[in-house]
């Protein structure tokens, strides 16, 4: 066991993934048995078993299972992460040492004098190369594993290795290990918080004040256990998504995450708004998933594998090959066909940066690789064997990238599919925290980061602009929201936009970096808002709060840490990541002047973010209470809720500090992430980086630094505005609102996106549905109904005939027989004499008849 773990430490992460699944299955089994024993709860043994599995009152056991599982998963992944970090540094230095050794050996081979010495040097060089290869193999075995799951169409393909095996697998690198720690940690805290927050659900009957039935409010059984059941499945799905090394498994988790969010958003499904929100989230995600499937199909068709490494290796030119180990895929090579198809099914391609095809590289890498020059020729096969070059039309690759990105747009609530996330606030607040911080919406950003080499430059620009639009739109809407959770929801959408923008402009580390820091402070903010809502007895409107600092100081201070962090105040975690994003954006905009908007949007939005976050904090915690009733009943949350808040507050502050907290680019987290940056980033954004370097050289001032300063300035303006308006009340917010009534209406209607979709999609769909309904009712139904009516009429007539004529005849026969029988029984007197009389009369009659016959016969001819 220990040996196995030492050789395969990646299994730690697999265990961490499976623990929540185990908890889910156990709790589900418990519920199943509860349901089985429930009908027998009146019997002697049945009662014992029924109470063993829960009884009438929902118990805390499911929560203990779920919390235990996720906490153990956290421990596993934390150990795994530590192990990985230490091992990866050691591995890196080992590899470097070996490479240096190989270099000196090769030099020796070149300079060695004499045959004997040359041979010795050659043998030493070969040995070193072998050692390096085994080092790499050992590393791969330790942290990755691929397992053939099932075969698709194994006999129907000309090339049996192509497009046949669906694999399961895991692959740990710094990105997934960090995500693992983040997700399990935040999920643990959210589980703990939920045990306090969902305590209302522990009662045998819960009254839902928001659902009105004929006889007052709705009464239902408490659903404490069910909540934790869903949470466990949610965590498992998310961890599986991070763990895996292939798109197919990601897609499975993707859908699982979708269904879990559906179940949890619709947790209070008796409320119309909650079930609508759940449907909206699910259906909106479905649109994204349709794109994802298109991407999957294209990749499967051309590459024949869902494994990330396989995909990238085939569509990008391997940077270099050292000792049989292909270094991370790097460069998209475009080419155009030149000449006719020859007899062997091969065509000559010329490498051309504007070519309409992308060269697909052999799955079995050849010995030598050198970057092809523009104008060089490549032989490409139409149906390539594993050792041959193939080609993919460039636009198809773009569509695949856009498709996968559309999936991410749906999951991460990007423009234009952002509409579901604010509605998802209908779920219990810990769920919102989980969705917004660690699981659902993180999945989209994670996938974009993971699948980065798949995206062509055109797709990356789309990603950047989608992110840019999203972050601006969502931030402007957040300014006018009055529901505390809605503000946070829009801030999440906006921050996700930041991440997408960062990835799109080539700030690969900045995106996941912000994802990780955002997870902490957004979980903090959501749990804080949960504590506020809990303390105010489910009041969510900030206009009815105010002055709550005195009532709930812990919540207020911890939330302030979150607000400072998201606003990007220096030394808070949000500052480091946002600085990285703005820096990347400026570098990109500097190199591509036509995309200046991509820098302006995040810069301006940084100020807006600060403004609305402080607005939220001031409105909630400072000033005079605006609703005395709410204020009087407000109370601080129990320890299960405040402890997670304090932990998260601390982590949102100093968690990402590097060796010098005042240095924006010195965060250890960013450093760790930079180590897994795909080589594709350097190649695709080579021009950007070169331009930035030139600027740095020219002005002795890094572009990154300029962007950071500008952002700080904007943040300061936002902070000053918020303080003036909502703390000192120098500007009356109400009056301002009336002055800009049109703008306010526009924003508070969320840019009329819901209305737009309603007009563009929902209503047309309804109209078409109504047409279909009319056709159904008038056409198909009328035919069916007429058939049914005529059949019924025919049956009726036939029934009448049957009853009247056929049965009548039979009855008549019976009746006649009866009458005859009744008449005849009169003859049966029982007197012997009368029988004899009949006998005699009969004899006489026969004699007369016979004599008549005989006489006529005698008289005849």
């Amino acid at each position: 066991m220990v040996d196995f773990l030492q050789n395969n430490p990646g299994v730690l992460f697999v265990i961490a993934t499976l623990l929540p699944l185990a908890s889910f299955l156990l709790v589900l089994l418990g519920f199943g048995l509860w349901c089985v024993f429930r009908p027998y709860r009146e019997t002697e043994y049945g009662a014992v078993l029924y109470h063993l599995f829960g009884g009438d009152t929902p118990g805390r056991t499911p929560a203990y299972f779920a919390l235990g599982a996720i906490f153990l998963a956290f421990v596993c992944s934390a150990v795994g992460f530590g192990w990985y970090t230490v091992a990866s540094y050691k591995h890196e230095s080992d590899v470097q040492a070996k490479e240096a050794e190989i270099k000196t050996r090769t030099d020796e081979v070149r300079t060695a004098k004499g045959h004997q010495k040359k041979e010795e040097a050659e043998i030493a060089a070969l040995a070193a190369e072998k050692e390096l290869a085994s080092l790499q193999d050992h590393w791969k075995d330790a942290w990755a594993y691929r397992w053939p799951w099932f075969k698709v169409n194994p006999s129907g393909m000309s090339d049996p290795a192509r497009g046949t095996v669906i694999e399961l697998g895991y692959r740990i690198d710094n990105l997934s290990a960090l995500m693992f720690v983040m997700v399990t940690f935040i999920a643990s805290l959210i589980h703990l918080f939920s045990m306090g927050y969902m305590a209302d659900e522990l009662a045998p009957t819960v009254e839902d004040h928001q659902v009105h039935t004929e006889d007052g409010h709705l009464h239902r059984r408490g659903r404490f256990g069910r909540f934790f059941l869903y949470l466990s499945l949610f965590c498992f799905s998310m961890l599986n998504l991070i763990l895996t090394d292939n798109l197919f498994q990601i897609f499975i988790s993707w859908e699982l995450v979708g269904i879990c969010s559906y179940l949890l958003i619709g947790f209070y499904y008796e409320r119309q708004s909650a079930s609508n929100a759940a449907n909206k989230a699910f259906i909106t995600n479905r649109i994204g998933d349709a794109g994802f499937i298109v991407g999957l199909i294209i990749i499967w068709t051309y590459v024949g594998s869902f494994n990330f490494e396989d995909i990238f290796r085939q569509i990008r030119w391997p940077a270099e090959v050292t000792q049989g180990e292909v270094q991370p895929a790097a460069k998209l090579v475009r080419a155009r066909a030149d000449g006719e198809l020859n007899a062997a099914g091969k065509q000559s391609f010329i490498v051309d940066p504007n070519g309409d095809q992308v060269i697909q590289f052999p799955r079995v890498p050849p010995e030598e690789h050198s970057s092809p020059d523009v104008g060089s020729r490549i032989e490409v096969a139409t149906s390539p064997k594993p050792t041959e070059h193939g080609s993919i039309p460039y636009w198809v690759l773009c569509v695949a990238g856009l498709g996968v990105f559309l999936g991410c747009v749906g999951k991460s609530a990007q423009f234009p599919l952002q509409v579901w996330l604010p509605d998802a606030m209908e779920g219990p607040t810990p769920v919102s925290a989980l969705i917004h911080a660690a699981t659902m919406v993180a999945a989209g950003v994670y996938l974009v980061a993971r699948a980065f080499p798949l995206f062509t430059p055109e797709v990356l620009i789309v990603i950047a602009y989608v992110g840019g639009i999203t972050l601006f739109v969502a931030a402007t809407v957040a300014v006018v929201m009055t529901d505390i959770k809605k503000v946070l929801a829009y801030s999440t959408v906006s921050q996700l936009g930041y991440m997408m923008l960062a990835l799109g402009v080539g700030g690969w580390t900045a995106g996941p970096f912000h994802l990780l820091t955002h997870a902490f402070f957004k979980a903090l903010l959501f749990l804080g808002s949960g504590a506020v809502i809990y303390g105010c007895h489910h009041e969510q409107d900030m206009l009815k709060m105010g002055g709550l600092f005195r009532k709930m100081p812990i919540t207020a201070i911890t939330m302030l840490a979150g607000v400072l962090s998201i606003a990007g105040i220096p030394t808070f975690s949000g500052w480091y990541s946002k600085d990285a994003i703005v820096g990347a954006a400026l570098e990109f905009a500097y190199a591509h002047r036509e995309h200046t908007l991509l820098f302006v949007l995040p810069l301006v939005t940084a100020g807006i973010t600060t403004f609305y976050m402080f607005r939220m904090w001031f409105l909630t915690f400072t000033g005079e209470p605006r609703d005395q009733h709410v204020y009087d009943h407000a109370r601080e949350a129990p320890w299960t809720m405040t402890v997670p808040l304090m932990i998260l507050a601390a982590l949102s502050w100093f968690f990402v500090w590097g060796w010098d907290p005042s240095e924006a680019t010195a965060s250890w987290l960013e450093h760790e992430l930079r180590r897994v940056e795909p080589a594709a980033v350097h190649v695709d954004f080579h021009a950007v980086h070169r331009a930035a370097k030139q600027f740095d050289g020219k002005f002795a001032l890094s572009l990154h630094y300029v962007a950071g300063l500008a952002a700080l300035g904007v943040v300061a303006i936002g902070l000053v505005f918020a303080t003036l308006v909502y703390y000192y009340r120098a500007l009356n917010a109400e009056e301002t609102k009336e002055q800009f009534a049109t703008l306010h209406r526009f924003l508070s209607h969320k840019w009329y996106f819901d209305e737009l979709y309603s007009v563009m999609l929902v209503r047309p769909a309804l109209v078409v549905a109504n047409w279909c309904k009319a056709v159904d009712l008038l056409g198909i139904d009328s035919v069916l109904h007429s058939v049914a009516y005529s059949t019924r009429w025919l049956s009726w007539a036939e029934g009448k005939f049957d009853n009247g004529v056929i049965d009548g005849l039979v009855n008549l026969l019976a009746r006649v027989t009866l009458r005859v029988g009744v008449a005849m029984r009169q003859l049966q007197t029982g007197y012997l004499r009368s029988y004899v009389l009949f006998l005699v009369l009969a004899v006489v009659a026969i004699v007369i008849a016979l004599s008549y016959v005989v006489m006529t016969a005698a008289a005849g001819p």
């Binding site: 005849m824 029984r825 009169q826 003859l827 049966q828 007197t829 029982g830 007197y831 012997l832 004499r833 004899v836 009389l837 006998l839 005699v840």
Partner: protein
């Protein structure tokens, strides 16, 4: 009188016996009396058989055989009928056939 004239005399006696038997069956209430009537009817028939056997050479053997059959039949019938009468008497303490009306429809 010719031969066939004598035959008619026999047939007349047979018919007389038959009618006497039938009348006896129809009028008697005593079961024994009815049995006697039955005997008379059978004997009337036997007279006919014997008469025809005697006057019609083609019927010589058959007539006599039939007569014998009828006598044996009458004996058997009398045995069975007397047994029934005895049982009837055991059940009803009478041999009046008018009381035996269970077969009435």
């Amino acid at each position: 009188m010719t031969d066939s004239g004598w035959l008619q005399a026999y047939l007349l006696v047979g018919a007389l016996l038959f009618v006497c038997g039938a009348l006896c069956m129809a009028t008697k209430r005593n079961a024994i009396g009815i049995l006697m009537g039955v005997e008379l009817v059978l004997n009337g028939a036997t007279v006919n058989f014997v008469a025809f056997a005697s006057f019609n050479p083609a019927f010589q053997i058959e007539g006599q055989i039939f007569a014998l059959f009828v006598i044996v039949l009458a004996a058997a019938e009398a045995a069975v009928a007397l047994a029934i009468v005895l049982n009837f008497y055991n059940n009803h303490t009478t041999v009046d056939v008018d009381t035996a009306e269970e077969l009435k429809g």
